[in-house]
């Protein structure tokens, strides 16, 4: 493997890790809210979160590019803060990927929260646990399988993205050139041998991830 290939693999893993951590932090409150709310906005928020499931990545990437661009609201903000522009940078890629993989993390966690039901939370309240305490000591442990699925899916989905990376990140070695883009480059340059290495690696990786998901995901324990 060439060093550019290794750099792409390393960048991909770094991107997926950062995005997964970010998604767990951002996705958990969204999932909790969606699981617990009786607000009429639930449908709207749920639909927005799920949008990346159906939209072509290029559409999402296009709007993010415009928003983060020099004339977009996000772009103006980042410029005003002295951060420069986000497109074609690693942070920009992270933000775009976070949007793109959001439903893959939110939905499993939301389902897990919903499966807990009202009762364990009520029991915790009658045992002197505040809502915050209950969230950490009852809801999160009981939703663990959902967190596991969400993290695996979020990570794997970020590793597998292509369209949005091209739109936001372009093709800067070491900064935004991830494995999927690298494969594309190899194919363009007719370097099929290198493409094979990376593509085969992706197939193996994806298979192992799904295998782990289906094998180790513990069946939900019922409240007794």
């Amino acid at each position: 493997m060439e060093s550019t290939d290794l750099a792409a693999v390393w960048l991909t893993l770094k991107l997926a890790s950062v995005v997964t951590i970010l998604l767990l932090i951002v996705g958990t409150p969204i999932a909790w809210w969606l699981a617990r709310t009786r607000s009429r906005l639930k449908g709207v928020v749920g639909a927005v979160v799920a949008l990346p499931l159906v939209l072509p990545p290029t559409v999402l990437g296009f709007y993010l590019l415009v928003a983060m661009g020099p004339n977009g609201p996000v772009g103006q903000l980042t410029q005003a803060l002295g951060l420069g522009l986000l497109p074609f940078t690693f942070p920009g890629l992270v933000i775009a990927s976070t949007f793109y993989s959001l439903p893959f993390v939110v939905q499993p966690i939301q389902n897990a929260f919903e499966a807990i039901g009202e009762r364990p939370l009520e029991v915790a309240a009658t045992l002197r646990a505040s809502p915050w305490d209950t969230f950490w000591s009852v809801a999160v442990p009981l939703a663990k399988p959902g967190f596991l699925s969400g993290a695996i899916l979020g990570f794997a989905h970020t590793v597998g993205e292509f369209g949005i990376v091209l739109m936001i990140g372009g093709n800067i070695p070491g900064d935004t050139r991830v494995v999927s883009v690298q494969i594309y480059d190899h194919v363009e340059a007719l370097e099929y041998a290198q493409a094979h290495w990376l593509a085969g690696g992706m197939v193996l990786f994806s298979f192992l991830v799904l295998l782990a998901l289906y094998t180790f995901n513990p069946t939900r324990r019922k409240a007794l």
Partner: protein
């Protein structure tokens, strides 16, 4: 003097209204009895603060947990109460010990009257502490749930049909523990039930709920002996007496004494002096003007008619009797009542055909 419980709530829902104004004693077991839909579970949940009655007042002694007229509502996790639900609802991610410590860890040690080993011993779960909830039987789980609630240092224990989800065998397994709680802990218990047997066996006070209203509230026997109420207990009308084991007789009978007389039952294993609760169904009591001479019925007491009222059973009346200050109910046919000219003040003999010993 233990603190009184004051509960005034009004809950209006589309199809249901709960409107109660109760003063309950701050000791012993108070049963909230009623059919499903009578509002007993809603009342209990409102007491716990799990539901908020828009108009409500709830206080245990000087501790006011809800007073909507002043906008006061203490959330459940800040109330010193324990709740036992119909399903044990143990936390599956914690061991038995972890479940029991959950509330204990969140209360200050100063307020905690009970230690974990004591409570585990009391409820017979000391050997189960390291098990996972999934490895327990239904009865064991419910005992752990009770222990967990007690260890959170409650000043009142609210139990929502804790036996309803269990089969008869498990029920009989748990009842002695509940009686033990009752005897050994000075803790007021509010106990929701729709099972007359459980109420007769456990309760000291009884609140009858019907369609969201408290139709009667008072000491168990006072309420049970009221014949003016809609027949909530229906075929189960009857009273409860506390009798003392007086003597084990040679012919395999045990004589029980209660103020007003004595009754014989099949030999009991309890030692002389033990107090036993017995239930005497109205349908098992017949009346005679003369002391019956030739009868197989052994148990016969002097009684005075207080009043009588029709029952839901066609052709029958319910007669309330006074037996040396204790109430007794008899269900007889209207024809017999007419023939014997049963009227208030009449002195007669009440024959007790059967006694159900509780516990």
């Amino acid at each position: 003097m233990s603190p009184e419980i004051q509960a005034r709530f009004r809950v209006d829902r589309n199809d249901f209204t709960l409107a109660v104004d109760l003063t309950l004693p701050g000791h012993g077991i108070t049963a909230l009895f009623g059919h499903s839909g009578s509002g007993k579970t809603t009342l209990l949940r409102t007491m716990a603060g799990l539901e908020r009655a828009p108009a409500g007042y709830f206080a245990l002694g000087s501790e006011v947990w809800q007073d909507e007229s002043r906008g006061r509502f203490v959330p459940p996790h800040q109330r010193a109460l324990g709740v036992v639900f119909q399903e044990a609802s143990l936390f599956p991610h914690l061991s038995v010990r972890g479940n029991m410590e959950f509330g204990q860890k969140r209360t200050s040690t100063a307020t905690n009257r009970f230690s974990l080993p004591e409570i585990a011993e009391l409820l017979g779960i000391a050997t189960l502490l390291d098990r996972a909830p999934g490895e327990l039987s239904g009865g064991e789980r419910q005992r752990v749930a009770i222990a967990r609630a007690l260890l959170a240092a409650p000043q009142i224990l609210l139990m929502d049909e804790p036996l309803a989800a269990l089969d008869l065998k498990r029920k009989l397994e748990i009842l002695p523990y509940l009686e033990r709680l009752h005897r050994e802990l000075a803790l007021p218990i509010v106990y929701v039930s729709h099972a007359p047997d459980e109420v007769a066996r456990l309760a000291d006070h009884l609140v009858l709920l019907d369609q969201g209203r408290a139709v009667a509230c008072g000491p168990l026997n006072e309420v049970l002996a009221r014949i003016d109420l809609p027949a909530t207990f229906a075929d189960d009308a009857g009273i409860v007496i506390e009798a003392r084991v007086a003597e084990h007789e040679a012919d395999d009978l045990t004589r029980l004494e209660f103020p007003g007389g004595h009754i014989h039952v099949s030999r009991r294993h309890e030692p002389v002096g033990t107090l036993l609760r017995c239930r005497i169904h109205a349908r098992d009591v017949s009346l005679a003007l003369e002391p019956p001479m030739h009868t197989s019925i052994l148990n016969c007491v002097d009684a005075t008619v207080v009043d009588l009222a029709p029952t839901d059973t066609p052709g029958h009346v319910l007669v309330r009797l006074d037996v040396a200050g204790n109430p007794l109910l008899a269900r007889i046919t209207r024809r017999s009542a007419d023939k014997l000219a049963i009227r208030p003040g009449l002195a007669l003999r009440a024959q007790i055909k059967a006694v159900a010993l509780l516990g």
